[in-house]
Amino acid sequence: MADFPRRGSWIVALLSVAAVPAVLAQGSAVDEIAKYRAALQDGNPAELWTARGEDLWKQKRGPKQVSLEQCDLGLGAGVVKGAYTRLPRYFADADRVMDLETRLVWCMVAQQGYTDADAKKSPFGSGNARKSDIEALVAYITSESRGIPMNVSLAHPKEAAMYRIGEKMFYFRGGPHDFGCVTCHGDDGKRIRLQDLPNLTKLEGAQKAYTTWPAYRVSQGELRTFQWRLYDCFRQQRFPELVFGSDASIALTLFLARNANGAAFDAPAIKR
């Protein structure tokens, strides 16, 4: 919400060239935004993160100087292809349901010898001054799932429980504004300002939204992960700060990922 004015300004710029009635003008602005997105899709800067992530995955790094190719993302040590479509899932070695980001931190600590604090020190990047290894690794690993249908399991009792907890959290309304995820994502065809909102309580909306994260955010010049998406939604909900890799973040991710089952994964994407 806080970044509306910025978006507003380029929408105004788009509109200023069109001397047409107001309602038509708004429709054409939305069309222009769609064209702009389509044009950007041809050359997605997310590729820069993907390339860096592949290097980070294969390099010998950390105090133990081993690569992440020993890391088991759920389909066996080093198997990246399709791994993201099965996450989050229960990992017996950690006795915990984990999403991709938490699993990467776990491997960096257990296998590469990083401290937990070091592994988590830069979950979200900020320009060249603070690049995020996690965002780059997520870009690479998710890119290896493009085209593969989402297939998240709830077979383990901890997965089944986390799904139901995530569902509860989706409907949890709180804070000074009484907002919950459902406030913006519980109905069809709604917008916040000019931004279309997916209805995450329906199959089509959940599939379209979940399969297009991570995404390169044009307005930020950064590749953003699903952890970031939840973090910034809660900020705008006026909640306290969501802890990176927290159980609540994993429960909500599992709820939304499972609801996207059957749809082909299509990220890293590009968004406004």
Partner: protein, 207 residues
């Protein structure tokens, strides 16, 4: 009662060993609340107390998407919230619509990332159409264009508009709209200004 209990005991006995019974809705709700509290940290002006729900939030969190509570529950919530509305002591409900427009445009306020001393807006345009000049409006709430032109400029409509901004749940249980006065998001003067944006005949909303 006994027959039902016996049937339950038989059903339990037939469950294979190690097969856990799915937790009840209440158990999941308790686990969800505990997990939320362990998953956030207090930052800036947003403390962990923001995760403590009041009665209205708790009841409204149990609803399926787009559903209003059953009538008796809705009436209870509306009555409880109606009792919180404080009308201005001076009896004047309309402030300055020009300030109201600024408040309606302002999206900042109350986020952990916001400066405590900075502006706090109502961000009305995020969800509503108001003045027709602003094309960037959301559709989560109804269009409020020509609010008073359509409903009349009278004292009752003024009182409704002020009350609705102060506490939306007094008029529609489990409304999506924040309770701006009840939860101290806006000051009394700000609510007057936004009420004027809706009610003043000179406001662009009524043109």
């Amino acid at each position: 009662m006994n027959a039902a209990r016996n049937a339950l005991m038989v059903a339990l006995a037939l469950l294979p060993l190690g097969c856990a019974i799915a937790p009840s809705n209440d158990e999941i709700a308790a686990q969800s609340t505990a997990m939320l509290k362990a998953s956030f940290k207090a930052t800036g002006q947003a403390g962990l107390d923001r995760l403590n729900q009041d009665d209205t939030q708790r009841v409204c969190s149990e609803l399926p998407p787009g559903k209003a509570p059953v009538r008796e529950v809705a009436e209870k919530i509306e009555k409880m919230n109606l009792a919180t509305i404080r009308y201005p002591a001076d009896g004047k409900l309309l402030g300055d619509w020009k300030n109201g427009e600024k408040i309606a445009q302002e999206g900042r306020g109350k986020q952990f990332s916001d400066d405590v001393a900075g502006p706090v807006g109502a961000n009305c345009y995020a969800c509503h159409q108001l003045a027709p000049q602003e094309l960037s409006f959301g559709t989560i709430g109804p269009s409020l264009y020509q609010f008073a032109k359509l409903r009349g400029y009278g004292a009752d409509t003024q009182r409704y508009a002020y009350g609705k901004i102060f506490n939306a749940d007094a008029f529609a249980a489990c409304s999506m709209m924040p309770r701006f006065g009840h939860n101290s998001i806006l000051t009394e003067q700000q609510i007057k200004d936004v009420t004027a944006l809706l009610m003043d005949p000179q406001s662009p909303v009524n043109k």
